[in-house]
């Protein structure tokens, strides 16, 4: 039955994530962003919640608790409310595990899932984005060519999170125009990780460009085997995740601006007592809610095992549009002070730009 309120279990997880963010991230996010680093112990704290082993079935050494896109959306929003880079980094193993779990062959699952079930620090990542004008995840330029018993991959990937520490990669590439995912080990001589990227936002997250030069992998390392995988489904999971992240970033900007507007006195009264400010705050409030509802709608469809192509697409473009608008308002409400890096609104503004642009950085 349709329901707009959280269950007890969802509330507990939301609060747990919120507490973690409050304790570790909220006060340190600025410093983390400046230094471009997430302290390992913070990530460990999130891994200890066991979200990845939970979704892995018992036969592969996990807890077999199932996989809930709605729950993951709730958690991602909370994490991104703390820091967008932290949200992506902490849920990164799932970005690798989920496609394997959902679309891998039995052999692929047997080989990879136990590694992630046993070691929550096991690092896998996904290389999807390509650094070029008119990039489209549905029309990849990275190629996979079948050669006897193997595939040869060529192409360049950007925004590959934590590529430097990752042991396993899923590389998105097209084989005769059909998109697929290919499992590549870090040791493969055809895969090279360039130096760390510097981007407009996501300062805390280690992002890398990854090059594939005649990278040869065994044919059985094509995800899903001969038939390949449902690439569109992957985008449904990742777009819903980005919408959840966008909601968290926008909410962070909204709450900060709201609190500031109450306290900042100009012309003898709080700036919030002027409609031009308070109406921005009102708009931020309901747009954050709208973003969240769109995310949850898409996640609900995924959870029900239904096709979420349209829902996830609309949730993502809405989140992309609104994350930018709201984080822009956030800076504007603070005026010149919002332009100074000591206030977080400028960081939200930079991160907010990423929601529309990025694809495949996290999965629900």
């Amino acid at each position: 039955m349709i329901c707009f309120s959280l269950s007890e279990e969802q509330t507990v997880m939301k609060e747990t994530a919120a507490k973690l963010i409050q304790n570790c991230i909220r006060d340190n996010a600025h410093e983390m962003d400046e230094k471009g680093h997430i302290p390992a112990e913070y990530l460990t704290k999130f891994y200890e919640l066991g979200t990845v082993p939970s979704m892995i079935p018992e036969e592969y050494g996990g807890y077999g608790m199932g996989h809930s896109p709605v729950m993951n959306s709730i958690i991602l929003e909370e994490l991104a409310f703390g820091d967008m880079g932290f949200a992506i980094a902490s849920t990164l193993p799932a970005l690798f595990v989920l496609p394997v779990l959902e679309m891998g062959t039995d052999q692929q699952k047997e080989r990879l899932l136990p590694l992630f079930a046993q070691n929550p620090q096991e690092c896998g990542t996904l290389g999807l984005n390509e650094p070029r004008f008119r990039y489209d995840p549905m029309e990849l330029q990275s190629s996979a060519v079948r050669k006897n018993g193997s595939y040869v991959l060529n192409g360049e990937k950007c925004f590959v999170p934590m590529a430097q520490s990752a042991k396993h990669f899923l590389i998105a590439a097209a084989e005769e125009g059909k998109n697929g995912l290919y499992i590549v080990d870090r040791e493969n001589p055809g895969l090279s990780v360039d130096e760390r990227e510097k981007n407009l936002g996501l300062g805390t997250l280690e992002n890398y460009r990854v090059r594939l030069e005649n990278c040869e992998i065994p044919a059985e390392d094509k995800l899903g085997g001969e038939a390949g995988c449902d690439f569109g489904r992957l985008l449904q999971y990742t777009r819903t995740a980005l919408a959840a992240i966008g909601t968290g970033v926008a909410r962070a900007s909204y709450e900060y601006a709201r609190n500031y507007a109450r306290e900042r006195i100009q012309f003898g009264e709080p700036i919030a007592s002027r409609q031009s400010i308070s109406f921005m705050i009102a708009e931020m409030a309901y747009e954050v809610d709208a973003m969240r509802l769109m995310t949850w709608k898409s996640a609900s469809a995924l959870e029900a095992g239904k096709d979420a192509k349209r829902d996830s697409y609309l949730a993502k473009i809405y989140a992309g549009e609104m994350a930018m608008k709201i984080t822009d308002y956030g800076v504007q409400v603070l005026g010149g002070h919002g332009y100074i890096r000591e206030h977080p609104v400028e960081r939200y503004y930079r991160n907010g730009r990423g929601i529309a642009i990025l694809e495949g950085m996290a999965a629900v």
Partner: protein, 397 residues
Amino acid sequence: MINLETPEYLANLRSSMNNLAKGVLRPVARKYDEAEHEYPKELDLFRGMQIMGRPKKKKEGAANDSGNGKPKKGINLSTVATIEEMCWGDAGLLLSIPNAGLGNAAIAAVATDEQLERFGGKWAAMAITEPGSGSDSGSITTTAVLDGDEWVLNGEKIFVTCADRCDAVVVWATVDRKAGKSGIKSFIVEKGTPGFRLEHLEHKLGIRASDTGTFVLDNCRIPKNNILGSAEVKQDTEGFKGVMKTFDNTRPMVASMATGIARAALDFLREKMEESGIPLDYEKNPENASALQKEFHMMEAQLEAMRLLVWRAAWMADNEEFNNVEASMAKAKAGRCGTLITQKCCELLGPLGFSRKELAEKWMRDSKIMDIFEGTGQIQHLIIARNVLEMSSKELK
């Protein structure tokens, strides 16, 4: 547990209401846009039908429980879903459906059983607005004075929806000007009461099928027990807040009207796009799409956002959660976005969006009212802002 999948009963309701709208309202939408003030006799079909989901008896309105602590299947959500479909057909006609006036909502909310008995079956309009009192509804000057067993009402009410066709009007009047908002009460005035005169009907930008009119109350005498709620003037403004509470139910309805009109416009645009072979894709990078495709997708996303905010507010009402701010959020968002979507559709339709041969131009005219009545967009933003900023109406004017 969060679950925003449309339940089957609601999907079925939507499709049957859409059929009704398609079969009955759409075909006469243009006719009554042109024949302003003429009663759409086709609507007689709806007499006695619970289109707006208004309960006749109090208890019927209570949501029916689907189990212990589980979310409830309630009347508010069904109502907003129905309204969206009907307004997809025609908003002016929906507003003219017999016995489904705003006054009926007010009566359903606060009437005693005896009053429900007397007025429950009547078509009731709502008269708050006066020439000098619009958004500031607390400043109304129409007076009600108790004289023996009767109230004597004096004043002028404008912009009353269903003014011509209704059987009775819920009139806001003050029993004590000095008491400010706490002195404001609502009274049921029946058509034909001496001193109660329909002065004239307005000619409007849109929703022309709906009869909007002015009433003059000139020493109009009504029975003492025609007052809704208590006659007592308290020191606080709780009573006024009580009457304003009706809006928590009606604002999501108006927001749903905006959603229905916007969807009509979008559906028409989609039809034209499909006819000329312009594909709508939900996977490729939107930045590489044409301007037309991208605008379309963004409007579609806006429409989803509108509907979800509406459904949330209605769902909360069904589950007896206080939804004052969520109701305003739905109205603020849908009122504004509905206006923008219908405007944009006309633009994208080109000459078809300017011609009265098609309905797109009408939808643009109809939609505009949704950001005005039941509290303008600005008033909704004020309500939301005061709530989230925790500021009083004195601190945030």
